[in-house]
């Protein structure tokens, strides 16, 4: 990785394309490149249709003065950004390209909550779940219910995830929600889908994030602050919850994690910092179990005991996560890598994890029909 860009998350003043242009140029300039030096662009903008825009690539490339550069726009629900990254990674690893731009962006806050809720439900197996009234908070609520029943996970444990991530976001100038919350704020917040409350849920956000990745020899010429994308693995799983053997785990995350660790020759104990897909608090708890950071059923207790805080056993979501940094769907997977990049180059400011050498990003599509796990290492 040689460059990274990230717009503020929250209510944007422009459309998704403009946000993506801004993030892309920041990443390209950060890599000391000009746009025409990019070999291939990978974009994601899953909700572009709500702004009457699909096929975002040529629009962005034209605006940045690289209209002739090939591009593709990739959709994989909430893992769209990391799916785009995976394609760029594959292009470079296979020798098809030397330098790739990856950018994801979204405008969502022009949608009212019920409207956005309906659009998000399209990421489920709609014929089975969406038609029967399933919402995303509702589907994750089923997972929370089962986790609570089987492992004794409590509302207070869910709250500890929310409180930590809000605290972390206070030190992230790009975060959507920079507001500290306490246990009473959490417990007094209304239910969205029992047992998940408002403070269990990430916000819909506008924003964009971008990365420039390059083949190692090219990268070494471009930038002295390098982070290596050691592995990037994707896996799939059943789209609908009714087709799964276990509601307390996401099989695609487990498989992708296993592949990513194996390919990187590291294990969960080597991870210093992780950005995981906490679209809901229960999702962070399950993510820390699926990636092996904590044993199955222990994720809630780990969060409540502070083991996932900055300075704990492993810092989870120092950026504030989706929960507080925000969730502009297609930007999320790339913004996670941006945060790991900042952490591994010791440029994360007040939320810096001391001595971070190896980081991981976990990005889930919908309720786990797809998942990407990326492992990054600081290069010397």
């Amino acid at each position: 990785m040689v460059g990274a860009g990230h717009t503020p998350f929250g209510r944007g003043s422009s459309d998704a394309i403009s946000l993506m242009i801004k993030a892309s140029m920041a990443a390209i300039e950060g890599a000391s490149l000009s746009p025409e030096q990019i070999d291939h662009c990978f974009y994601s903008n899953a909700f572009g249709f709500t702004e009457n825009q699909i096929h975002a690539g040529p629009v962005i490339n034209t605006a940045i003065g690289a209209a002739d550069t090939p591009s593709v726009t990739i959709e994989s629900a909430c893992s769209s950004g990391s799916a785009a990254l995976m394609e760029a990674y594959a292009h470079i690893a296979s020798g098809l390209a030397d330098v790739c731009l990856v950018c994801g962006g979204e405008r969502l806050l022009h949608l009212k909550t019920p409207e956005a809720t309906a659009y998000f439900a399209m990421g489920s197996d709609y014929a089975v779940e969406g038609t029967n009234g399933a919402t995303f908070p509702g589907l994750y609520a089923l997972m929370a219910q089962e986790h609570m029943r089987r492992y004794g996970t409590t509302s207070e444990m869910l709250a500890s995830v929310a409180i930590k991530n809000h605290q972390n976001a206070l030190n992230n100038e790009l975060a959507h929600i920079r507001k500290s919350i306490g246990m009473s704020d959490y417990l007094e917040s209304p239910y969205v889908a029992y047992p998940l409350r408002l403070y269990d849920c990430c916000p819909f956000s506008d924003g964009a994030a971008a990365l420039v990745i390059a083949e190692e020899r090219v990268a070494r010429r471009l930038n002295s602050e390098l982070v290596q994308l050691v592995s990037c693995a994707r896996a799939g799983g059943p789209a609908a919850l009714n087709q799964r053997d276990d509601l307390t785990s996401i099989s695609s995350a487990r498989v992708a994690a296993r592949q990513a660790y194996s390919s990187a020759h590291v294990g969960p104990k080597d991870i210093d910092v992780a950005e995981v897909h906490d679209c809901f608090t229960i999702a962070e708890i399950i993510a820390t179990e699926d990636t092996g950071l904590f044993p199955q059923g222990e994720g809630g207790r780990a969060a409540a005991e502070g083991l996932t805080s900055i300075g704990g056993k492993v810092a989870v979501n120092p950026s504030g996560g989706l929960k507080a940094k925000g969730h502009p769907v297609s930007a999320t997977g790339i913004a996670q890598i941006y945060e790991i990049y900042r952490q591994l180059t010791a440029s994360a400011g007040k939320r810096q994890v001391d001595g971070a050498e190896i980081g991981m990003a976990h990005n889930v599509g919908a309720t786990g029909g797809s998942c990407t796990i990326s492992i990054l290492r600081r290069m010397r």
Partner: protein
């Protein structure tokens, strides 16, 4: 009113899946049998949706996973708050699966 749902069952391993499947989700076998099963079973897990999506006429409802007596897990709606393990029966109505307590 249809009180059954069409599913497919793997003739090799016995796994159930929805009617669109052409290969078994568990063992990959292509021998699937289409079967209509009664919408009767017990609530596996539930949630109460308090923020419905646009176009939904109900203010609040329960979204449930029901394990049918045949073995297939199906999703649906209840207008009351159920308990996990509660016996329910359902019917298909306007493309939705609506469950009610059995007693």
């Amino acid at each position: 009113m249809n009180m059954r749902i069409t599913c497919r069952k793997c003739m090799s391993c016995g796994a159930w899946m929805d009617a669109r499947s052409v290969r078994c989700i568990r063992c990959g076998h292509a021998s699937l049998e289409e079967t209509d099963i009664p919408l009767e079973g017990e609530v596996l897990q539930y949630t109460v949706i308090s923020v419905p999506p646009a176009g939904y006429e109900m203010h609040e409802y329960s979204y449930v996973l029901v394990k049918t007596d045949a073995g297939m897990v199906v999703s649906g709606i209840m207008h009351v708050r159920p308990e996990a393990g509660e016996r329910v029966r359902g019917k298909m109505e306007k493309g939705r699966c609506i469950f009610v307590p059995q007693n």
